[in-house]
């Protein structure tokens, strides 16, 4: 297949901004050049005009300005004692980071790690190719077999735009040894009122009987444009829990991909997006069942107000070998305003015959009869609405074990929903 390729000024700037190197980076760059950035006819980016947003808001011929950030205290998660790793404008900042290596190994990503680049496929997605060619820093986390990492790792992705727009390219790799466990929390924040674009890829390898939890908090009140891909490979009997909370940002695209490559695996993908203003949040998830007797469970819920947009795309593959798979997926949305929109699409491809799979998506308004019921008991409209929405969101929030992180998420959700009961 051949296509007439047109190199746009944006793409030229991007290509010029990435220094040609040998190896994987160079390969990825040429793929990016061939693919070009996704246009409005791209199936995978149909509802998420990322290329147009980048054209409009960024100049890739310019470099990031330096940041003088001295403290990240205001961005810390209250009550969470963690290994704190801080990226500012795409660079890892050792002085702002606090961690020790007692039960895990934290090193800068080199690109030569075993398995690097094998999960996030740069040949099919230009944004992945871009990151693979352009990443400047990242963290490699290694946990030895039989080790339970006692404190979570918090990754702060901070954009300091006070002196100009920011573009950041981060690449992480996580390797969990047999029967080990680790919790990672990602958080985005912006200083200043100029635009920032982050392109962050995390690849994870979860060996036999290990457990990985990834929480992603996207509540950046700044002008954050974000592409992220998290690709996780799981060996037999491993567990993976992913939780994505999206409250703010200009344009947020999350690709989450789980490869269930063994028996007895359990994977949970949960997401909650409560959007307002003109935020666009797009969650694209893929669960790939390759072996028998594994379970995956996915619940994404959205509350969308103002002009905000939600996008959900959930693919489930059940390969011929993956008999006795249980795969469940659900996406439910409530639209609050007339202008709010959501596009949701489940995609199931099942080649095995002895499986239990289900999917469902719903989009609706607040139940008026329920609203009336609450009001008829003396509860004002604002509180009644908050009760209903909080209950709706609560089903996802309850997937998190109680503790300071859940309390923090709860407080953010409560604030967003004007909960006062």
């Amino acid at each position: 297949m051949s296509a007439v390729l047109e190199t746009t000024p944006l793409l030229s700037d991007i290509l010029a901004s990435v220094k040609p190197e040998a190896g994987l980076k160079a390969d990825a760059l040429s793929v990016l050049e061939q693919l070009g950035l996704p246009g409005n006819k791209s199936e995978e980016y149909k509802f998420t005009p990322i290329t147009r947003s980048l054209e409009k808001n960024f100049n890739f011929a310019t470099k990031n300005s330096a940041s003088e950030l001295k403290s990240i205290e205001s961005f810390a998660i209250p009550g969470v004692d963690a290994h704190t790793l801080v990226f500012v404008n795409g660079g890892f900042v050792e002085e702002l980071s606090r961690y020790n290596q007692t039960d895990l190994k934290i090193t800068p990503t080199s690109g030569t790690e075993n398995g690097f680049g094998t999960l996030a496929d740069f040949k099919s997605d230009a944004l992945v190719a871009w990151n693979t060619a352009a990443w400047t820093s990242g963290i490699s986390i290694e946990v030895k077999a039989n080790t339970t990492v006692s404190k979570p790792v918090v990754l702060h992705y901070i954009h300091d735009t006070s002196k100009g727009e920011v573009k950041s390219f981060t690449r992480n790799i996580i390797r969990l040894g047999k029967s080990s466990s680790l919790t990672v929390i990602e958080k985005q924040d912006t200083i200043g009122d100029q635009a920032g674009f982050s392109n962050i890829i995390t690849e994870g390898f979860v060996e036999e009987n290990a457990a990985l939890n990834i929480f992603s908090l996207q509540a950046d009140k700044g002008k954050r444009f974000h592409f992220g891909q998290t690709s996780i490979w799981q060996a037999r009997d491993s567990r993976m829990n992913s939780f994505t909370l999206t409250l703010d940002g200009k344009l947020i695209r999350n690709n989450l991909q789980l490869i269930l490559d063994g028996e007895g695996i359990e994977s949970h993908m949960d997401g909650l997006y409560i959007l307002q203003g003109d935020t666009l949040a797009d969650n694209h998830t893929v669960v790939d069942h390759r072996k028998p007797n594994a379970n995956s469970n996915e619940l994404y819920k959205g509350v969308i107000d103002d002009n905000a947009k939600g996008v959900f795309n959930g693919k489930i593959y059940v390969r011929p070998d993956a008999q006795k798979t249980n795969a469940f997926q659900s996406n439910r949305n409530i639209l609050i305003s007339d202008k709010a929109t959501v596009n949701t699409k489940p995609q199931l491809e099942i080649w095995a015959d002895d499986v239990k799979c289900s999917h469902g998506c719903t989009t609706g308004q607040l139940d008026e009869e329920a609203m009336f019921y609450l009001q008829a008991r003396g509860i004002d409209k604002v509180t009644a609405r908050a009760m209903m929405l909080y209950a709706f969101a609560g089903e996802v929030l309850d997937k998190i074990n109680s503790g300071p992180l859940k309390n923090y998420f709860d407080s953010l959700i409560s604030e967003r929903l004007h909960k006062n009961f």
């Binding site: 139940d367 009001q375 008829a376 008991r377 409209k381 209950a391 009961f421």
Partner: protein, 251 residues
């Protein structure tokens, strides 16, 4: 207490109430009976403030106020209570949390201090006994997975908690077996006093053996066409509604 004059109401293009008049004084129990589609539930809905119904004519005065001007929550705070014919299931909203919010918003509107957790639980325990409702039910999401009887008992429990001045029971007896009916009726009877009024909307005379009304009204084609005492209910039970229809047709 409640004075309804010439009330006309419609939903979409269906005119349902056609000049209804009703006077209710404190301490009285009024039963509204009538065949299906006569407008009984519409009357209950209009009084509680359900938005789908449009009042096209007439007035409703409640304790000196224009009831129709008030939002549903304001009516509730002024002491109007509707026991729903079909109580709504609201997953994720705990019954206790809901009740506490409602009680405290009502108290606030009445100029009372909100109840703290301990006093609220105390009040709740007391009222639970009244309708023989189990704590485990109240720990669950509001009405979710409740049986028909449990839902109706929960309505009366809420009524007991909110201490209304005017309670409207919309077919609270429909679908209940005799034991559940007795429990619900007992709960209602314990709440009767000289300052409170109750409007019992029902299709069946059976309920009125347990909640004995002072007045019985027959609603037909959106109007009260006959009023009497509890004997009227017995007559309706024995003869059905056809004779009423015939009487109205003659007039």
């Amino acid at each position: 207490m409640l004075s309804i004059k010439n009330l006309h109401a419609k939903i979409e293009d269906n005119q349902i109430l056609n000049g209804l008049n009703l006077e209710v004084k404190p301490g009285e129990v009024h039963a509204i009976m009538g065949p299906n589609g006569s407008g009984k539930s519409t009357l209950a809905s209009v009084l509680a403030g359900r938005e789908e119904f449009e009042v096209t004519d007439g007035t409703v005065e409640y304790l000196g106020k224009d009831l129709l001007e008030l939002a549903p929550e304001e009516r509730a705070r002024e002491g109007v209570f509707l026991a729903f014919q079909y109580p709504v299931e609201i997953p994720g909203v705990s019954t206790i949390n809901f009740m506490k919010t409602a009680v405290n918003q009502v108290r606030e509107a009445r100029g009372q201090q909100p109840l703290d957790a301990v006093s609220f639980l105390g009040l709740m325990k007391e009222k639970m006994k009244l309708v023989e409702i189990d704590q485990s039910l109240l720990n669950r999401s509001l009405n979710e997975g409740f049986s028909g009887g449990e839902k109706k008992r929960n309505e009366i429990f809420q009524m007991a908690m909110l201490e209304p001045k005017l309670a409207i029971l919309d077919e609270t007896d429909s679908g209940l077996d005799i034991d559940a009916l007795r429990i619900v009726a007992n709960g209602v009877n314990k709440l009767r006093d000289k300052n409170k009024a109750i409007i019992v909307v029902t299709h069946y005379q059976r309920l009125l053996e347990y909640i004995v009304p002072d007045f019985v009204h027959v609603l037909y084609k959106g109007k009260i066409v006959k009023s009497g005492t509890k004997e009227l209910a017995l007559e309706l039970e024995a003869k059905g509604y056809d004779w009423i229809k015939d009487e109205v047709a003659v007039v």
